[in-house]
Symmetry: C2
Subunit: 620 residues, 2 copies
């Protein structure tokens, strides 16, 4: 991987930072966040401004350019990748390490007195704006909103914003009509005496209206805003997309069943002026919800006295707790996904000795096999297919110039997932096709112990996911090892593969408590730079747990794995397992064999079935 050459781009950006065409006074620093106007994690090509300016294309990172410096902040998953993709003009700021300054501290340490720091108010969240603005002000600087995005002014061939065809989802997949969801939302609003709610997160809008799109690769969402009132529904979306009769019918655009369920449609761009109009007509005591992750630009339209900023919206919470229809659909999606992966591993065993299988060809083969499954829509994120040292790049994505051949001598890690109409999958398996070293097996076994510790954890109702994070690390910590990423994230149902408000990570404290019906990933790992990477990831469903006692009648929860793909026995040092862990592995493999075996049989995939039966033999 060769770094992007950024000398000329930085020169142009620094000129723009002084150009009175865009700004009244020169700015001394410009912040380029990685998000779009909806603070999406994955973004459309037209929004990849941070990648454009520095070359780093990971999913998280913020660039800051000053007159003298250019720096990029990203987290442990991306240290290696970022250092490879950026040229010498850039300083990599490794977040999470003690010696790394925060963006605020760094700016304060290098800026001349009374500096102005610019940012596009549409792509910075209101809470981030507030924190940054406060830190800068207290050091005598100021944060200023630059209306023209300065990257766009120097980005000559910037792609056009997408406007893909919308998919309507029926009750079979969603379990609830959009009308029911709007009504439930209004109930929550009424409870809190809220008259309006500005919906800005793309997955919340998609979930609310039972619509999907493909504006952003891997995430079945579409660019839109919504403003929901107690008796109004305003949807802001490219009007061409509403010409589709299926969409018209789904949204009851011509013949709404009830007046309060009538959707008023507006062009996407008019959200700003329409929100201004709604705000202008507010009665003195009316309150409007907006998420603290909404853009600064939109948040500031709402007068402070009417603004109620919330960390998680009721849609985010409702979406996170899957209903029985969604749970069944997610289970079906995971069965199909496991079928594809069993086929993949059976195929790999045959093909690898030929020496022609590469990281990229496995990723392609995995996609091909998944695409044969019913209701396949696409991948849920770029497949991480990595051999040996590439496995240590936590969010590695194989490129022609980094592509390695799979062999009998190196550890292979594949983290992949798909979108099906019935659900979203995300699974990581780490395997060896020859004989793993004792050290590789030892590390794998610690990671497995961590995976099991979370998956089998029993905890009281009301427990937040971050309290489970250390369970995943204890076995690694005992030996002086660790991994620099969280342990799990929420997973959408045919929606974003990363979603809030729950997760399992030491980095957060403000996650919402886990509830039965929530779905998260369980994915501890271990990475040895230059050698190998190990990760074992299942998607797991939060379910009630039966316990011997029931303290204060709180009830307990645990997890049920939805992912049912064998964990390679060859990689396990069974001497390191406790009896409980031993039993967990056997029970898990029994479930894989029974559930996926039945589906493989139904689909007539004999070779994969043989492989599955072989790989799920009990350990003794």
């Amino acid at each position: 991987m060769s770094p992007k050459i950024t000398v000329e781009l930085l020169r142009q950006l620094r000129q723009a930072m002084k150009n009175s065409k865009y700004i009244t006074e020169p700015i001394q620093a410009y912040i380029i966040p990685s998000g779009d106007a909806h603070q999406s994690e994955y973004i459309a090509p037209c929004d990849c401004r941070r990648e454009f300016i520095c070359g780093f294309n990971g999913s998280a990172g913020t660039a800051i350019v000053t007159e003298q410096h250019a720096a990029l902040w990203t987290d442990g998953r991306y240290f290696l990748q970022a250092s490879q993709q950026m040229d010498n003009n850039w300083t990599l700021m490794k977040m999470g390490l003690k010696e790394t300054p925060s963006q605020e501290d760094w700016l304060v340490s290098i800026l001349p007195e009374n500096s102005k720091v610019g940012v596009d108010p549409w792509i910075i969240a209101a809470d981030q704006w507030k924190n940054m603005s406060k830190a800068l002000s207290s050091a005598g600087h100021s944060l200023v909103a630059v209306q023209d995005n300065l990257i766009d002014t120097i980005w000559e061939d910037r792609p056009a914003p997408p406007s893909t065809k919308l998919i309507t989802l029926g009750l079979k997949y969603t379990g609830l009509t959009w009308q029911d969801k709007v009504t439930a939302l209004r109930g929550k609003m009424a409870e809190r005496k809220i008259s309006w709610f500005v919906v800005t997160a793309l997955d919340e809008i998609a979930w609310l209206f039972n619509l999907r799109g493909s504006d952003i690769e891997y995430n079945p969402v579409f660019f839109a805003y919504a403003i929901i009132g107690i008796s109004n529904i305003k949807l802001f979306v490219d009007s061409k997309r509403l010409l589709d009769p299926a969409v018209q019918e789904h949204l009851e655009l011509d013949s709404p069943s009830k007046p309060e369920l009538t959707i008023q449609c507006f062009p996407y761009e008019s959200v700003y002026t329409e929100l201004q109009a709604v705000c202008a007509a507010l009665a003195p005591k009316e309150k409007m919800w907006i998420c603290d992750k909404a853009s600064c630009a939109l948040t500031q339209v709402i007068p402070k006295s009417h603004r109620s900023v919330i960390p998680y919206t009721p849609l985010c919470l409702a979406k996170a707790v899957k209903n029985p229809t969604e749970i069944q659909a997610m289970k079906m999606a995971h069965i199909k996904d496991a079928v594809a992966l069993c086929e993949l591993f059976a195929w790999l065993e045959k093909e690898i000795p030929k020496g022609t299988v590469t990281e990229i060809s496995v990723a392609d083969k995995a996609e091909e096999l998944r695409s044969q499954q019913r209701d396949f829509v696409g991948l849920s994120f770029p497949t991480i297919s990595s051999v040996g040292p590439n496995g240590a790049i936590i969010h590695y994505r194989p490129l022609p110039e980094t592509n390695r051949t799979l062999s009998l001598n190196e550890v292979y890690l594949i983290d992949s997932g798909a979108q099906y109409l019935d659900g979203t999958t995300d699974v990581t398996r780490t395997v060896h096709f020859g004989t793993p070293t004792d050290y590789e097996k030892e590390c794998f076994t610690y990671v497995l112990k961590g995976h099991i510790a979370v998956s089998a954890a029993v905890f009281p109702n009301g427990t937040k996911g971050h309290l489970l994070d250390s369970f995943a690390r204890a076995a690694l910590w005992d030996s002086g090892l660790d991994y620099l990423h969280g342990t799990g994230h929420g997973v959408g149902c045919f929606l974003n593969v990363h979603e809030g408000p729950c997760g399992i990570s030491y980095k957060t404290f403000a996650d919402e408590p886990l509830e039965a019906g929530m779905i998260v990933s369980d994915e501890p790992g271990y990475y040895e730079d230059g050698s190998f990477g190990i990760r074992i990831e299942n998607v797991v469903l939060v379910i009630p747990a039966k316990t011997k006692y029931n303290y204060r009648n709180r009830g307990s929860l645990t997890f049920e794995p939805l992912t049912l793909v064998p964990i390679q026995l060859k990689m396990i040092n069974t001497d390191l397992l406790t009896q409980k862990e031993h039993d967990w592995v056997n029970d898990y493999h029994k479930k894989c064999r029974e559930t996926i075996g039945a589906e493989l049989e139904r689909q007539g995939r004999k070779e994969a079935l043989d492989w599955l039966i072989r790989e799920t033999q009990p350990i003794v």
Copy 2:
């Protein structure tokens, strides 16, 4: 325990809330925090205003009185106690339960429009003021500072503020002179370009000047403020206390060694005007540190442009990491404390069958035995001595009306500790003098497993204590059990038994990372209302851990128990222990036998030695 009758007091307070002698406009609610002007956890009798008004005398709780309502917020340790000590005029607000409103939400839900809520600005911390004020304003109310404390206006026999004799501590105990500590502090100030630091926490002042007092029972501190400049030291303390020649010499009041180490002494009350004077003379860019837990009154003296509010002061951090002298001194204090407890348990075994030993008499006996040890100063908190159902009251303190007799049929829990010149102790043991039931043993063993899980945990440098909290609960959670308090707190060295900035609790996120030299408690428990309480508490020292590998050269940490008192074997169901836990118990008891045994022998305490040897036999 009969509740305090509060009808008349509430009537008087409500009158004061409307009395123009104290306030310009009537207030609709009055907040009575539990702290003093230094936000101390334990307080002097003159500051027990919350207890005076509602009767509840636990260490944490806030009362709010409105025209119609009176409510008290406290945490899980005190639910039972508070409900017993308060009469029907009071509503108990159980913090930590989902259905319990916050103080802010409750006020907003019950106050008439445009209400004024009053509070004494000296006994509310600046950060609490800010949060409360913000919440009230956003609902149309306001928080107002009431300069005359309204409780004091109705408290006829309020005790006078204490002014006890000061104790000077030499290098033998402190390891560092106060001059060295001031110099190190100034180094930290210079690093951050801070010219002044207002020290408001009593334990920080005591630690900095190597002085102790006894103004507050159990906490060897004295009422004082300090303002430290780069070349000034201003100490605010009752001037009578400085007449003692030992104190004069210790502080070099007559002959300071260096001009910048000259202490200027002021009366305690003049801190407000003196801080005003310092602030008036500040140069434009000068910054002044003050802790966010300092009083609102004092914080607001510092103009915003000069104010740098910090969550943990450099003194708090420096004090938490014990130096080698302090560590040795703490070890010695714990050895002496264990001697006293071994004697106590040996005595109990003989005495209990007589049927005359009560919760109070054990507490008295424990104090008597501790007082026989060298350098004993007093207790470090009121002894929790509790039989059977009283053990379920987490911070129970035996009173004549609740006093139970120890018997062969009930579980007995004793949580006690002392102040010695060389250190502070805090230890809990739960024992049975007859035959515990299988259920009691089962619960005890889960608590023990949690205790060991924390004590034996290995974790990377930089880990915050809250990440270890779930380790203490896992065994309980597995069976549907839990406890409603944190797992550990920082412990001072001949200072407060509870100190920041580290601890082990699911409730915090802003704790500072654990470091070698820090000292915390490890005290999981289980409480069955109406039946029994179990807690196993050791004070443990953070030490470097040797691990097989060393990921990214971060190094690892673990704990070394300082408390060396046998854990009753009779209470353990050894079938529930893993081999590792089994070995931990035997290793721990071996260390108790060797270390405490030697000291018992040295002190010629034969009966206790016999008891120790018997109680530390290896389990098989």
